[in-house]
């Protein structure tokens, strides 16, 4: 299955170019031009990795990150920032972002981070699945209780 990536940035031409580059590399890409739009899409679709600009009008990158972590805690977030907002990106990592990159960034660096973020999410989900299986094996009645 393709890695599902959501790009969130208010710079439309940046979003267009980056999304085309990622699609060429076989990622399943969706785009949003604001934090509000991104959250709406996250309620309806599943994403593995979100690439999130820190400085956006309306809902900021940090506010958007907080909401993403509330509704989809396993989705990994990579913050994109100009140098003026590096502190915000670091704050984002304290709030659970996977990593951050400075604009303009090299495609290879971004792709490496997307893949690492995807792997972390996949491992996390696998551990949750294993824990559930162990729980069922230890107490099969919980399956009936769940139903």
């Amino acid at each position: 299955m393709k890695t599902r990536v959501l790009i969130v940035d208010d710079e439309e031409e940046f979003v267009n170019a980056l999304s085309k580059r990622l699609r060429i590399r076989d990622y399943d890409v969706t785009t949003s031009l604001s934090g509000e739009e991104a959250l709406e899409k996250m309620k309806h679709y599943l994403f593995d990795v979100v690439i999130l600009d820190v400085a956006m009008p309306g809902m900021s990158g940090i506010e958007t990150l907080r909401e993403i972590k509330k509704i989809k805690p396993l989705t990994e977030v990579i913050m994109l920032t100009g140098h003026a907002t590096v502190e915000s990106a670091i704050e984002g990592m304290k709030l659970g972002a996977f990593d951050y990159l400075l604009k303009p960034c090299e495609a290879d660096d971004l792709i490496a981070k997307i893949n690492l973020a995807y792997n972390r999410k996949a491992e996390h989900e696998e551990r949750i699945r294993e824990a559930k299986v162990r729980q069922i094996l230890a107490s099969p009645r919980t399956v009936l209780e769940d139903e």
């Binding site: 940046f14 170019a17 400085a55 009008p57 100009g82 140098h83 003026a84 604009k103 303009p104 495609a107």
Partner: protein, 221 residues
Amino acid sequence: MSRQWETIGELGLQFFGKISASISHEIKNTLAIMNENAGLLEDYCQLADKSKPVDPGRLKEVASSIRNQIRRTDGIVTNLNRFAHSTDQWMMGVDVGDFLRFMCQLTGRLAFIRGVRLKPEPLSASVKIQTNLFFLEHLFWLCLDFAISMAGEGRTIRLTADALQTGVRIILRGLEGLAGSPKTNFPGRHGKTLLRVLEGELEINEAAGELVLILPKEVSQ
């Protein structure tokens, strides 16, 4: 008096830093777009090398985006250069209409990030004053910063000016949040110092949602 100049000097540097940081952030954004487009061209070349034909329309689209961003960056750098030269002379002639357009371009991103747009309106007649340009830019930014907070997200602040016999009246309209807003310390000690130096006055009209800055035709040396 020396305390007054210390305040102006220290906070003036902070203002210069704030504007420079905002401009460099804008330049980073345009560079990022050009960088992605250059990368996209490389990707298309690699596809062509693998005998996958590339639609020339796609290449034109990328070239057009790069040209847009070069034009945008040129505007940003021109504004930065003009801003840097505002400290060249102690007193200079300022065309108020031109000054309002320039300030909208210079601080537009800072307003936009707070969800507010700045719109200079054409003046009915040309208005010129003799003043210290850097101090005026600084004082005007304090006015804009306050106005942006009072306008609220999704609003537009309209900027205009009228000639007075004694100088000029600059008006910031669309400050819907002025009425009923809690008391602020605007313009603050710092703003008051700048007003004193520029021999200006501020009027806040809550009912009309307006902030008015009155400046003399010529600041006494």
